[in-house]
Symmetry: C2
Subunit: 113 residues, 2 copies
């Protein structure tokens, strides 16, 4: 409760904070994996790689992690066989609606030409 109040006071800051993990479009070479079909994200990655970027970061959390692996595999197997990959896993701490702390696993797959 106290936490909610504090958040209300700093709305601007809270908004920035919320935006970041889920749908940040600031980093042009990051593709965040959500619940869309796998091929949407494959297309996004391919578009990045063909628009002159040398590397793209695929990021996902929780249940979307398996889709992130699907995306990386489809990009490699169907479109660009020679790409290099670096995979990293980690844990984010998020707060649920009741302000309890939850640990959620993350993956980031760096694909580079």
């Amino acid at each position: 409760m106290a936490e909610e109040q504090a958040n209300a006071e700093k709305t601007e800051k809270a908004e920035v904070k919320e935006e970041k993990p889920k749908a940040a479009k600031a980093d042009d070479n990051v593709v965040y994996i959500g619940k869309k079909p796998t091929m949407s994200y494959v297309l996004a990655v391919m578009t990045q790689l063909q628009s002159g970027m040398n590397e793209v970061l695929i990021k996902a959390r929780g249940r979307s992690i398996s889709r992130a692996v699907d995306v990386a595999e489809v990009v490699k197997n169907k479109f660009m066989d020679g790409v290099k990959r670096e995979i990293d896993i980690g844990t984010d701490t998020v707060q649920d609606k009741e302000n309890k702390k939850l640990n959620i696993s993350t993956i980031s797959i760096k694909i580079s030409k």
Copy 2:
């Protein structure tokens, strides 16, 4: 239907084939991730590591991949901070009931002391 018949004729072969990807226990240091709760697999990994093995391989396919990452993260964060990890992703080709080929993503996470 024709396939079912064929399977019935080669029951033995079919059984061996089914057993392999899902529940192979031959490799002692491999923990295959399925649909049990995360902590069951964490316990399995910890048991391996504490029974003198220097490395354990966590393997998963498809939707279980995110649980494999959960297991690796819990082992690292809650139990053994100093472990090293090597992550590899790939694709397996399996046949569905109608004998169509399906690609399924895989992950293998090597945890070593």
